[in-house]
């Protein structure tokens, strides 16, 4: 079970390609709002990721080392 699960998950990237290609073909839907969407999407992804990491990091440091 360990080998199968880890083997499959190591190539998880591959499994997103077919659906991703389908979605790419709809990119022109973004139209004139492409800039607003692009800026919001990139910045908010970074903000969300940084906030998650900082919060977890800060709380784990406060929690201190475990016996």
């Amino acid at each position: 079970l360990h080998a199968t699960a880890h083997g499959l998950l190591a190539h998880l990237s591959l499994l997103f390609i077919p659906a991703g290609v389908g979605v790419l073909l709809h990119l022109q839907r973004l139209g004139q709002e492409a800039t607003a969407i692009g800026v919001a999407l990139v910045l908010s992804t970074w903000i969300g990721m940084a906030t998650t990491a900082w919060t977890a990091h800060w709380l784990m440091q406060r929690q201190g080392p475990h016996p």
């Binding site: 990237s13 591959l14 997103f16 290609v21 709809h26 990119l27 800026v39 969300g48 990721m49």
Partner: protein
């Protein structure tokens, strides 16, 4: 591993008429982009998902192959997403000892990350003049596709636009995330994985598994929890904000 050699024209002509075309094309392009990423020492722009999607998309466009014809073969790969979702539980169980004492910091981080990511997306897009439908479609972009589409529909967005934005978010998060986290001085694989899964769902999780199974385990956990949290809270938390903004 070196990039796979291109098939000869005769073989290709045969493959193009069978469902095997989509399958072969996807596997060839994936192994080539994977090799490229290894050779480029994990450079953010060499993300295999992003590169493969671009290459296959261009190929379909140039050769005039309709997407359903491609998907006939590629569906065998797509189908594996189901078993892979179940398989996510295995590394998580193996991290149980760490998880048990980290659930409180991670829970708070999930709330903070989901809230800040969603709010900043809506507010930045609004400030740049995006339409109400676009804002509603953008709000659930960090959630895994099927659930994000459902949330977008509830908020009055366009589910198909959401599907595009979810994939783009995943690619942005997966390709730039590890570098961003390193710059922030975060080295704990559990935290890096959790942040990748919260902000960039499955594609971020796939990236985390490329780094190591521990990072992947926490990314998979975050992906599931953020989907659950967003599905329960976005309709009533973001719905009023959208009505107020527009």
């Amino acid at each position: 591993m070196s990039p796979a050699p291109l098939p000869s024209t005769g073989l290709w002509a045969y493959l193009a008429t069978t469902p095997l075309m989509g399958l072969t094309l996807t596997l060839l392009v994936y192994s080539a982009t994977q090799a490229l990423q290894t050779r480029g020492r994990g450079h953010p722009l060499l993300n295999p998902v992003a590169l493969s999607i671009l290459l296959i998309g261009s190929w379909l466009g140039l050769s005039g192959t309709p997407y359903p014809v491609y998907f006939e073969g590629a569906q065998f790969i797509h189908f594996l997403l189901g078993p892979a979702t179940v398989a996510l539980a295995v590394p998580l169980v193996e991290q149980w000892h760490r998880l048990r004492r980290l659930w409180r910091p991670l829970g708070v981080a999930l709330l903070a990350g989901t809230a800040s990511g969603t709010l900043s997306a809506v507010l930045i897009a609004h400030a740049l003049g995006a339409s109400p439908e676009t804002l509603a479609s953008l709000a659930p972009k960090s959630v895994t596709t099927p659930i994000a589409m459902g949330i977008a529909e509830t908020l009055g967005g366009l589910p198909s636009l959401t599907a595009v934005l979810v994939v783009c978010t995943g690619i942005v998060g997966a390709s730039t995330g590890p570098l961003l986290l390193r710059r922030l001085g975060i080295n704990d694989p559990a935290i890096c994985g959790f942040a990748l899964g919260t902000a960039a769902h499955g594609i971020g999780t796939a990236r985390a598994f490329q780094v190591n199974p521990e990072m992947g385990a926490f990314a998979g956990l975050a992906m599931g929890l953020s989907a659950l949290l967003s599905a329960m809270s976005l309709p009533w938390a973001i719905g009023p904000l959208l009505r107020w903004l527009t």
